[in-house]
Symmetry: C2
Subunit: 228 residues, 2 copies
DNA sequence: TTCTAGATTTGACCACGTTCAAATAGTTAT
DNA sequence: ATAACTATTTGAACGTGGTCAAATCTAGAA
């Protein structure tokens, strides 16, 4: 995302210093209460050095989220190699993101800051974040890869699951129940429901519904490329 | 929301001046490019006067959104008095918000800025905005008021429609099609689908699904008070 | 070694959102 | 009219995110 092009070894070190200082301070004091000056000082550099590596304070959060995504891919990748059970796969896909971020909910919230501003480079639905969105969706695509499914569902499901995850993530941020049990139960419930509906999807009576949904999403340009 | 308690007449005038100056400049230059200094100057006061009436720059957007909400309530209220047709009512409820904000999409986006930060006073899902959320939901409650519906749906539907509206609003912000046709078609399609599903809801085979959904939302504390 | 081009680091600086204590205007009671 | 109290207005100041041109460092070529 930022300065990930080839950099000098020393540069890479500095970048890591700044990043981990930022994380530490964000966790300790919260995002807004942490100044770039403090981050830089903690990393042993001057403020403008931080801006050499990260274009903005929020970009540090973006980098954090990319790390989380990478970790999720690793976790899920391992599990997908060892079990073929669809439900286990999906449950893991969802819960892994919760597990990875449960202690950083205040950081995570910042990811959503520019949701409503399409032109902002960090808009979580904008073109600037398309790649990480693709990766996020890919996890679900991998999760259902082994299933026998009609082609349309093969496209639709990962998208729907990604959307579900986004929604649950917001819920996760607001969830004040112990260890966010509420959100986790919701995730499980939503998955069960999805699987149940998946079983029902072939029913004749639901055929027109399913077709209608698909057409709707198609004309909304939500299906193929990266409209959203 | 802000300083709506009794104020002097002159104070009220000043407040209006500042608010309309803000709107004008936001529309002209965009939210971020407009400085509080500029707003105040345009309103003929000094910068800190603006802060006497609005606690932050974003609070001006909040005030804008409240105005939109009020306008929607008026529009829908009128229509609900003249037609009993459910679809017309729901279509109006959705489209009115689009119509009212179509020229202010860049302003509208700011409303979502603190979606991921529950403790921020302007978090669009937080306690600080509960009242406007209630009003927003009330419109849909009014829209379906005349229908014969089981009690659970009477609670569930307005909530679902409010959520639909929020989702569509985000889509609306990203929609670069002429006059946001795409989002509008999506809204109509989603409504059709909802009505179709409503017709199907009594079907025996769907009974367990419906029950499952309800239980899920219940345990997520999404139904009654203002958990979210 | 010296030169050069690029990567990195620096400190000075700016713009803007926000705060605040003090000044002023308005209103009400005596 | 005066005093007392509140609502409003003001200007000065602060902190922070971000920019920039210049300085320094690094590594390879001559």
């Amino acid at each position: 995302m930022v300065k990930n092009e080839l950099a000098t070894d020393k540069g890479e070190q500095t970048r890591k210093q700044i990043f981990s200082s930022a994380l530490e301070l964000f966790r300790e004091r919260g995002f807004d209460a942490t100044t770039m000056q403090a981050i830089a000082a903690h990393a042993g550099v001057v403020k403008s050095a931080a801006y050499y590596y990260f274009p903005s304070k929020e970009a540090l959060i973006q980098a954090y989220y990319e790390n989380v995504q990478t970790a999720q891919e690793r976790l899920c990748g391992e599990l997908f190699n060892t079990t073929r059970d669809l439900k286990t796969r999906l449950v893991t896909a969802l819960h892994s993101k919760f597990d990875l971020t449960k202690d950083d909910r205040n950081l995570l919230g910042v990811v959503f800051r520019y949701t409503g501003e399409p032109h902002h480079p960090l808009s979580c639905l904008g073109p600037g974040t398309a790649e990480i969105r693709r990766r996020s969706t890919q996890v679900f695509q991998d999760a259902i890869a082994e299933e026998k499914l009609p082609q349309d569902l093969r496209v639709l499901l990962p998208l729907a699951l990604w959307a579900l995850q986004m929604g649950l993530l917001v819920m996760f941020l607001y969830d004040d129940s112990e260890n966010q049990q509420r959100t986790r139960r919701m995730a499980d419930g939503a998955l069960n429901l999805t699987l149940k509906l998946l079983g029902l999807a072939k029913l004749a009576i639901l055929k027109p519904i399913r077709k209608a949904v698909l057409e709707l999403l198609q004309q909304a340009e939500l299906l193929p490329g990266d409209a959203l």
